[in-house]
Symmetry: C2
């Protein structure tokens, strides 16, 4: 998952329970350093994980980025964590791409949405 | 809480358990319509809620915004939900500021962070 994709025209909806959110907040280093290509590849890979529901990202130019991944259960998250290309990207992230990041894995208890008519 | 504040230089850290995340993803309508002023006021108010740990926001220009609030427990979230100025802002958000939004309230099960040396 990445913040490289185009911003969508609408937020993802509230999914039916149960599901989890994985919040990834980060500050990037300068330059691309192969980040864009890798993140496109990971976007395609995560979509194949059973129990993956979606993800969305926002990044303030020059500042903080937040990506939220939505997964049905812990098994889906563990599957995503264990994929070799993702593990390699995590290593490269610490070596090159990120000044800092924080990951929060959380079980959703309630959710709701609003869409303008 | 809002996405109006300057992006910080680092993501918020992984807090000690237990805590909750409130993920608010949104797409804005065009124009400010008083949004900036209200969100500055709410930023000050939320900081006074007992059990509030912090919040961070990112918004891709012209696209999706994601704000994540961190709270110690459900009581803190309910306190924040019930503040009159916040309730008024929620109404104005549906009337004017947002094309759409989704809120996910989730209990954190694990978290970790990385900071470059």
């Amino acid at each position: 998952m990445s913040d490289h994709a185009e911003a969508p025209g609408a937020p993802l909806p509230a999914f039916e329970l149960p599901y989890y959110v994985v919040v990834f907040s980060s500050v990037r280093t300068a330059g691309d350093r192969g980040y864009g290509e890798t993140s496109d590849r990971l976007d395609a890979l995560v979509a194949e994980v059973p129990g993956y529901l979606g993800h969305e990202s926002a990044r303030t130019p020059g500042g903080l980025g937040i990506t939220v991944g939505y997964f049905r259960d812990v098994t889906a998250i563990e599957e995503w964590r264990s994929i070799a290309a993702h593990r390699d990207a995590q290593k490269q992230g610490r070596a090159e791409w990120y000044e800092g990041y924080t990951v929060h894995v959380a079980k959703v208890e309630r959710s709701h949405g609003f869409v303008r008519d």
